[in-house]
């Protein structure tokens, strides 16, 4: 299939653009870094000795690192969907639309490229987390990154779909800040799933970030509430649905 190289080329293009816009990359990584350093360290020193350990079995900062890594992964890949809007405004989308290459391959390439850039950011956060939390199971990081990859596909797919349906940078940014904050809080990023009241647990279980975070906790601090198998299953199913839907939307997009 001569079109397969389209995927690699589009992915490379997304990567190049990312590395050329360092300011933007830095700003997306700042938010999780703040959470990790300011909130994580501040919170755990302020409430030192109150019994976190008895609840979560480890220090709060170690508990937080997997959550913040997943937050980084999801937010950054979701935000990368905005590049579709830029491409529309600056005309490049037309170049893609008149090309004979199947659009499904184009979108897969885009998503892969965007997910890779997010993975780089998540890895950075992970390394900082490893340095400050100290007791993480480093040998499981490669597998943890695979779960991140799945989460990133869901994020990039959803972000692209949102971008395809609204076509305005301002609206996209407004919606992102409207969606991202609740999405981060209605999850297990900051608190353990098994201590949540049921009315909170149900929406948290509808949130893909919850499954990735759970998997990362199992892998990195050996505490989790769901299980590696079910986590993987949910993420794979969701990623497939989102990617198929995203490809469908992208195939039908026009510039009218």
């Amino acid at each position: 299939m001569r079109w397969v190289s389209v995927i690699g080329a589009m992915a490379l293009r997304q990567l190049k653009r990312f590395f050329r816009a360092r300011a933007r990359a830095l700003s997306t990584i700042m938010m999780p870094l703040m959470w990790l350093l300011l909130f994580g360290i501040g919170f755990s020193t302020a409430f030192k000795g109150i019994g976190f350990r008895s609840v979560i079995g480890t220090s709060y900062i170690s508990f937080l690192v997997p959550g913040i890594v997943c937050m980084t992964m999801f937010v950054s890949s979701f935000m990368s969907g905005i590049s579709v809007i830029w491409d529309r405004q600056f005309g490049f989308l037309k170049e893609v639309i008149v090309a004979p290459a199947p659009r499904t391959f184009i979108i897969i390439g885009r998503v892969l490229g965007d997910v890779t850039t997010s993975l780089i950011q998540a890895t950075l956060i992970m390394m900082i987390g490893v340095a400050i939390a100290q007791n993480l199971a480093i040998y499981n990081i490669p597998i943890a990154l695979l779960y991140c990859l799945l989460l990133g596909m869901i994020g990039a797919g959803l972000g692209t779909m949102l971008a395809l349906s609204i076509n305005s940078i301002e609206a996209f940014q407004a919606l992102v800040s409207f969606i991202i904050l609740p999405l981060n809080f209605i999850s297990n990023i900051f608190y353990p799933l098994n201590r949540m009241p049921i009315w909170f647990k149900i929406p948290a279980l509808l949130n893909p970030i919850t499954y990735a975070t759970d998997a990362l906790r199992i892998l990195l601090i050996h505490r989790g509430a769901i299980g590696l198998g079910p986590d993987a299953l949910v993420l794979i199913v969701l990623a497939s649905i989102v990617l198929v839907a995203g490809a469908y939307m992208f195939r039908r997009t026009s510039i009218e």
């Binding site: 690699g8 080329a9 490049f92 008149v98």
Partner: protein, 331 residues
């Protein structure tokens, strides 16, 4: 292989209540440069968009390189190169990267691609610029890169939507030269749109004049000018002009007094009419001070057919605004 590369029959396009195309019909022969000449809003871009499969027509039939643009868009896409009215390059990639990405998206194998990129860079004389980010290039250079990119996959038919819009005269000349060279050396079929009459006249074998979504005339530049069939003679004089006698002359079609000592005489055969006119002036005792004569331009043809100007001033102003807007956006 048919004789025609593009066949368009009764093409219509509605945007809500706006009828952008109201039944457009024309055909472009293989190897020909065909121009759509018309003012802003005439429907040129809409036509290009339909022919390049970017949008669908409301009704009508269009075929490019032997394939129906609605039923077989992918077959059409493989065979066309497009330079849209607005820049569609990735500004954050270099010239080379833009070309490379295009080649990949069009399935050109890597070794072949490298060769072809050098080839097209040679053609547009931008070899020294290949590692520069596109956003740092001038408008004319961006245009040249787009032309190079559109040729990379060796299309049968090339579409150029207002290829020199908003460019300085120098860049315009360069692009005209490339287009002429393409015709000579590649025998590619080109459909270009423009609202500059000199551009249409310089480049096109045949021109369709389009206005308000309809083609109002078609032919070679010479044929179009002969639609008017008239030339205009200006006479500057002193004394009383012999208007009533002039009107009786065989080749004179119309007479207009511009001011009290200048007259505009429309004739259908200037070389024959001129001596007669001079003689009439001479006989009636009016003094001729100056005679000049003007061949019709495509703008005159447009005015003749539509009663309006191609309106270069106004569109220049709009372009100017647009350039400012673009610049603001892009920096």
């Amino acid at each position: 292989m048919t004789e025609y590369s593009i066949i368009v029959k009764d093409l219509r396009k509605k945007y809500g209540d706006i009828e952008a195309l109201r039944g457009v019909t024309f055909s472009v022969r293989r190897g020909e440069i065909y121009g759509l000449l018309g003012p802003n809003g005439a429907g040129k871009t809409t036509t290009i968009h339909i022919l390049t499969t970017v949008i669908r027509p409301t009704s009508g039939y269009a075929e490019v390189a032997g394939h129906d643009v609605v039923k077989e868009p992918d077959e059409v896409r493989k065979r066309i190169g497009v330079v849209f009215q607005d820049i569609t390059l990735d500004l954050n990639l270099t010239v080379y990267e833009n070309l490379w990405l295009h080649g990949k998206i069009y399935g050109i194998p890597s070794n072949e691609l490298k060769k072809r990129i050098e080839e097209v860079l040679d053609l547009i004389e931008l070899k020294d610029w290949k590692n520069k980010l596109v956003k740092n290039l001038s408008g004319g250079m961006k245009r040249r890169v787009e032309i190079a990119r559109a040729l990379l996959h060796r299309p049968e038919v090339l579409f150029l939507d207002e290829p020199t819009l908003g460019l300085d005269p120098n860049s315009r000349m360069k692009i005209w030269n490339y287009i002429k060279m393409l015709k000579k050396e590649y025998n590619i079929t080109i459909l270009l749109t423009t609202h500059y009459m000199e551009e249409a006249e310089q480049l096109c074998d045949r021109i369709a004049i389009i206005d308000r979504g309809k083609i109002v005339a078609e032919g070679s530049p010479e044929e179009l000018k002969s639609i008017i069939g008239r030339e205009v003679i200006y006479v500057k004089f002193t004394g009383t002009p012999p208007i009533s006698i002039l009107k009786t002359l065989e080749h004179v079609r119309d007479i207009k007094l511009i001011d009290k000592n200048r007259i505009e005489i429309t004739v259908d055969n200037a070389p024959k009419a001129l001596p007669e006119i001079i003689e009439v002036f001479y006989k009636t005792g009016a003094q001729i001070e100056e005679v000049s004569y003007k061949r019709p331009t495509l703008n005159d043809v447009f005015v003749y057919l539509t009663g309006r100007e191609l309106r270069e001033e106004e569109s220049n102003f709009n372009e100017h605004l647009r350039m400012i807007m673009r610049r603001r956006y892009l920096t």
